[in-house]
């Protein structure tokens, strides 16, 4: 276990959590949630470690990881930009915001800028449809966003 802590960077709490849930049915999703909570994403190395600790095939882990949008396989940027593509935001031009951010930062949905500063993802409903279209940057919510506001919003986090 100390090897997992030192080499894989799993915290004592995470290791204890996995050990506690190891033999309980339906444990995989919970464990992966905790891994993502700790690292912000689930790296191949982390997935290998979970496979080893739970003695399950890596393929089964990737089956789950790739099924749920929630799980991220790449390290998010320092500032994660989420653009809402739920019904209201979509109708109010959420997709246009995505396209504009792609242009401004030179990345794709799910991608990270070369300097690791920003990442971009589409999400479903942030819970404030009245402010559509909505986006968040590092958890800060911006409502009724227009394309021309985007450079300003992004530079705020530079």
């Amino acid at each position: 276990m100390s090897r997992i802590k030192e080499e894989k960077g799993f915290s004592d709490e995470l290791i204890a959590f996995i050990t506690e849930w190891k033999s309980k049915p339906g444990n995989l999703i919970m464990i992966l949630h905790r891994v993502q909570q700790e690292f912000g994403y689930i790296s191949r190395d982390s997935a290998d470690t979970v496979a080893l600790m739970l003695d399950i095939p890596l393929a089964s882990i990737y089956g789950v990881l790739s099924f749920y949008h929630f799980f991220k396989l790449t390290k998010p940027g320092e500032h994660n930009i989420q653009v809402c593509l739920g019904t209201a935001c979509y109708l109010k031009g959420g997709e246009g915001l995505v396209d504009e951010i792609k242009n401004l930062l030179g990345l794709e949905l799910g991608g990270v800028t070369a300097d690791g500063k920003y990442s971009l993802e589409g999400v479903r409903c942030v819970g404030c449809c009245g402010l559509a279209p909505v986006m968040t940057v590092s958890g800060e919510v911006f409502g009724k966003v227009t394309k021309d506001q985007l450079p300003g919003i992004i530079s705020k986090f530079n």
Partner: protein, 581 residues
């Protein structure tokens, strides 16, 4: 027993059966695409829907168990339309490039499209353009043709315990692929090809090497020498509408000569050679205490690959004997080349195999070049060989039998049963008995090790000494045996077995990943019966009595486990990572 009705016809059937089986009993075929009798029902495709009388509910015949008094309608106008719609939807994401597909003529989807008279594609066509995975030398994955039936995933995980393939992604974007977007060759894949044998369409298929074969036989500088594996002779006939299990050995020799091959040999000769080497190795381990017990067979390249990845602690238990194919390759370019006075550099050594892993085995490590050249240059599966024969205009079904060439073509009955589960064990016992006692077995039929149970164990009485043996087939079944050995070893207890035979594919090589399609347990049984018939009809039943075997030891190898044998016929194993990357 359950009593029910299929289209009004009374059926009596065992509890736990599915509706498909009940319908079969009254000669009704319900179409299926995702279902395969080797695998648990998965209910993915929806083609097998049937109606329950007096109920609005549709049942999937593959997954719905029979129930007392159940009355089922399997075919009517509405079900016809539903099935047609299911097919049209599948076809909306499947390319219509049948003419250039490896499954042209054997595709299950194509067959149903023909039977249901699909003439139009009413739904929007949405094809993927994902690239093929050609990373292995054995099998090709073409995601554009995948219908997501899940057979390959189930085979890889449940039947083989390999977990190379998994459903990755969801919905429309689901693909069947190894974890982490890796190519197959970097995954745990053991190249057994069971995925390709179970795929209903052309999404997974053997790497086609027929062109290289044709190039070799048309090259006057190449001396083309061919060996055929035991299991090929009882399966190839299926491609020519011969009854399942027909022994076609003589016709295969004849067809090879018509194709322009220079010498026709037989892997069975080297199966006998394997028994001499592996049997002697076993006797040595048993009588001198040198070497780990149990000894485990190593003929199956998929099993060897699996062991190196998943059970490297068993390396000392592995027989160092190469597979018959690799032995045959090594002696072809040494012993035969010398005898025939041919430059081994000019020999092109081809193996016709029931197996896709054999394509990988020929270059698995430097031991496969023991002759100083590639011991085997090319492997063709039974399916590729069948295509070649057809394309060459050879009327295979009515060819006359011809004999194999000397000096490495003759075989004993013990060799031919290498193609089925339990066969290597039986062949080894026949010879080990003689090696230990100096006497011939009164009855060479070792029926105790025959059968289809996934794991079989037993005891063989060698003049008072009890030899404990075990046989496993279907890769997922091997773990129970290996865990038994591990736990005995950890406790310092006596090993539970002395000798273990493992074959990766269910039924053994007769149902290998390169064999004709549509293999089921019924077909496995018939092919195995064919091999036992071949064994019974053989002049010599035991490997050590094969005259050409005696000759190769007298003229060339000296004795089993000699220095020359070690150099040419034995190999080493290496621990390998489950994922290369």
């Amino acid at each position: 027993m359950i009593h029910m009705k299929i289209n009004g016809m009374p059926v009596e059937i065992e509890a736990g059966s599915n509706i498909l089986a009940a319908a079969k009993k009254v000669n009704v075929n319900i179409p299926t695409l995702c279902y395969h009798p080797d695998l648990p029902a998965w209910a993915a495709c929806g083609l097998c829907v049937v109606k329950q009388e007096n109920s609005p509910k549709l049942l999937r015949a593959c997954a719905a168990p029979v129930v007392e008094n159940l009355s089922v309608i399997t075919h009517d106008a509405e079900l016809y339309q539903i099935r047609k719609t299911v097919l049209e939807m599948i076809l909306s994401t499947h390319p219509s490039s049948c003419l250039t597909c490896g499954r042209n003529g054997t595709c299950e989807l194509q067959r149903f499209a023909a039977e249901f008279g699909i003439r139009e594609q009413p739904y929007e066509i949405r094809l993927t353009d994902l690239p093929k995975d050609t990373s292995t030398t054995s099998i090709v994955l073409d995601p554009t043709k995948c219908i997501k039936c899940g057979r390959c995933v189930q085979v890889c995980q449940q039947l083989q315990g390999v977990y190379a393939l998994e459903f990755i992604g969801r919905g429309d974007n689901t693909v069947v692929s190894p974890a982490a977007g890796l190519p197959l060759n970097d995954s745990p894949c053991i190249k057994c090809g069971q995925c390709s044998a179970h795929c209903p369409v052309g999404a997974i298929f053997e790497k086609d090497d027929t062109r290289e074969f044709v190039r070799a036989i048309s090259n006057p500088d190449k001396h083309v020498v061919v060996q055929i594996a035991p299991a090929v002779r009882v399966a190839l006939g299926e491609a020519f509408n011969l009854p399942v299990g027909t022994i076609t050995t003589g016709r295969i020799y004849s067809a090879l000569r018509r194709l322009g091959v220079d010498k026709v040999f037989d892997t069975n000769f080297s199966a006998d050679l394997t028994i001499m080497e592996e049997g002697t190795e076993l006797v040595k381990r048993l009588t001198t205490g040198v070497g780990a017990i149990p000894q485990i067979t190593s003929c199956c390249p998929a099993w060897t690959d699996y062991m190196e990845k998943y059970y490297p602690d068993m390396i000392p238990n592995f027989s160092t004997a190469k597979s018959p194919m690799m032995m045959q390759g090594a002696i072809t370019k040494t012993y035969y080349a010398q005898k025939a006075n041919i430059d081994p550099a000019k020999i092109f050594s081809v193996a016709i195999m029931p197996c896709t892993a054999k394509k990988f085995e020929i270059s698995r490590d430097e031991n496969m070049y023991a002759s100083g050249f590639a011991d085997v240059d090319l492997v063709l599966t039974t399916r590729e060989f069948a295509r070649l024969i057809k394309a060459s205009g050879i009327d295979f079904a009515v060819l006359h039998d011809e004999p194999a060439d000397s000096p490495i073509g003759m075989y004993a009955g013990a060799a031919t049963i290498f193609g089925n589960t339990g066969g290597v064990m039986e062949a080894a016992i026949r010879t080990a008995y003689t090696l230990i006692t100096g006497e011939e077995l009164a009855d060479v039929n070792i029926t105790a090790v025959r059968g289809m149970d996934g794991v079989r164990t037993g005891e063989v009485d060698v003049k008072g000494t009890k030899v404990r043996v075990a046989v496993a087939h279907g890769m997922a079944n091997v773990s129970t045996l290996l865990e038994e050995i591990r736990s005995a070893r950890e406790q310092g207890a006596e090993p539970p077995y002395h000798f273990i035979e493992v074959m990766a594919c269910r039924g053994g090589c007769v149902a290998g990943g390169g064999q004709p399609y549509a293999t089921t347990d019924d077909i496995r049984g018939k092919r195995i019966a064919g091999l036992y018939t071949d064994d019974e009809k053989s002049v010599y039943r035991c490997s050590h009595n094969n005259p050409e075997i005696k000759q190769i030891y007298a003229d060339f190898l000296e004795k089993p486990l000699s220095e020359k044998s070690h150099h040419l016929l034995h190999t080493t194993y290496t621990e390998r990572k489950i994922y290369k990357k």
